[in-house]
């Protein structure tokens, strides 16, 4: 049944990432009530739980559906237009972000689960995503890299909240349903 589980999990995390963006927004009190969408949490979770290949496939599948016209991004955005907007690079970065998150989860198998998840989510879910997003933003908006970087800094606190959330979630799932953490499954 491994094939079926793989396929269903890939679809599941694609749908989860979409659902996280369509859910009511979370108000994080200590960020001064700036509402953040949870969509990039899906990137971290897909990578951390499914591993590099299945994780990145699930995000690629989501973006394919967005490209063909389904409004699955936060705020009900969709269509090819989103890739032409200023945040198009971030979207493409999601695929590689999930991939790197998954790789790091596998490399840190010997570590404590929470520490490994936090490390993987920061490098993959934030670092790699910005690595793609900032050059694209700089190119599209005719800014220097540094300007595009400082402009994107507003989102970092929200992203760090999502790292904390992903650590808490992966930890809870590891207790409640350890078989779902494919990156740490006992082979």
């Amino acid at each position: 049944m491994q094939k079926e589980l793989s396929l269903v999990y890939i679809c599941f995390f694609a749908a989860l990432t979409a659902a996280l963006g369509l859910m009511p927004k979370f108000d994080i009190a200590f960020l001064g009530g700036v509402p953040i969408t949870a969509q990039t949490l899906g990137i971290m979770l897909a990578g951390a739980m499914l591993g590099p290949w299945r994780g990145s496939l699930s995000i690629a599948l989501l973006l394919l559906l967005v490209a063909v016209g389904l409004p699955l991004l936060a705020g009900g955005r969709g269509g090819i237009a989103v890739f032409y907007g200023p945040s198009g690079g971030f979207l493409v970065g999601w695929i590689f972000g999930a991939m790197v998150t998954g790789f790091i989860m596998q490399l840190t198998k010997g570590w404590n689960l929470m520490l490994g998840t936090a490390f993987a989510a920061i490098i993959g879910g934030i670092g790699v995503v910005y690595l793609f997003g900032i050059p694209y933003l700089a190119l599209k908006a005719n800014l220097t890299m540094w300007q595009a970087f400082t402009g994107s800094l507003v989102y970092i606190p929200g992203d760090l909240v999502k790292v904390v959330a992903s650590v808490a979630i992966v930890q809870t799932v590891a207790r409640g349903m350890p078989s779902a953490i494919l990156t740490r499954a006992q082979a």
């Binding site: 269903v8 269509g79 090819i80 237009a81």
Partner: protein, 206 residues
């Protein structure tokens, strides 16, 4: 599942999806070559004309670019502060017109036609075992999962509201995921019971 596509029989609806995507690709490449103010203005005129040609509903559809406006305003202000207002305006118009054009294709091409148009891109993946059968199953599963997940979440939310008087909390995400993962496992079992991702015939052979 709602799509941003809208029904119609205009010239744009009748146009071949691959041709539309091809034109979009050529125009977006051309913005790199013609980096002055004129080309973006020309693109903006084309996109406004295209939307208007669809009638009042087409004009309405331009609202899709609304969320982009604050970002464009920030970019213009940014360039203004740096003393290059003209460049800022050019960049903003270029981005706005490309987003409008891309959106125009999405609203005039239904999902099936779009999937068919991009299908050849996946042929190389066949060597890795990605059949069109698996691809369609995956697409159908995602489309079905999204509303199911949202309804699972909203029932958890209702229970939380009853207990605490608060509408939403990040605390709900972990139990939500456990619920939903259990459901996903059952879906996998059900697909397996019905012949698996490759179908019965495949299993009998193996």
């Amino acid at each position: 599942m709602i799509s941003i596509y809208f029904e119609g029989n205009s010239w744009a609806h009748r146009m071949n999806a691959r041709l539309k995507l091809g034109i979009l690709f050529i125009l977006s490449t051309a913005t790199i070559v013609f980096d002055g103010m004129l080309f973006p203005l020309f693109l903006l005129a084309i996109s406004l004309g295209a939307y208007t040609s669809l009638g009042p509903r087409g004009v309405q559809a331009m609202k899709a670019a609304g969320p982009l406006l604050p970002v464009l305003a920030i970019i213009i202000v940014f360039h203004w502060v740096l003393g290059s207002l003209g460049l800022g305006v050019t960049v903003a118009i270029r981005m706005l017109s490309m987003v409008l054009l891309a959106n125009f294709i999405s609203i005039t091409t239904n999902m099936d036609a779009m999937m068919l148009a991009v299908e050849p891109l996946f042929y190389p993946l066949r060597a890795l075992g990605l059949s069109s059968r698996k691809m369609s199953l995956a697409v159908a599963l995602v489309i079905r999962f999204v509303p199911v997940l949202l309804s699972v979440y909203s029932s958890l939310q209702e229970a939380y509201w009853a207990r605490t008087g608060k509408r939403n909390s990040w605390r709900l995400i972990a139990p939500f995921l456990l619920h939903a993962l259990a459901m996903a496992t059952k879906v996998a079992e059900a697909i397996y019971a019905r012949g698996g991702v490759d179908g019965y015939r495949h299993r009998l052979k193996g």
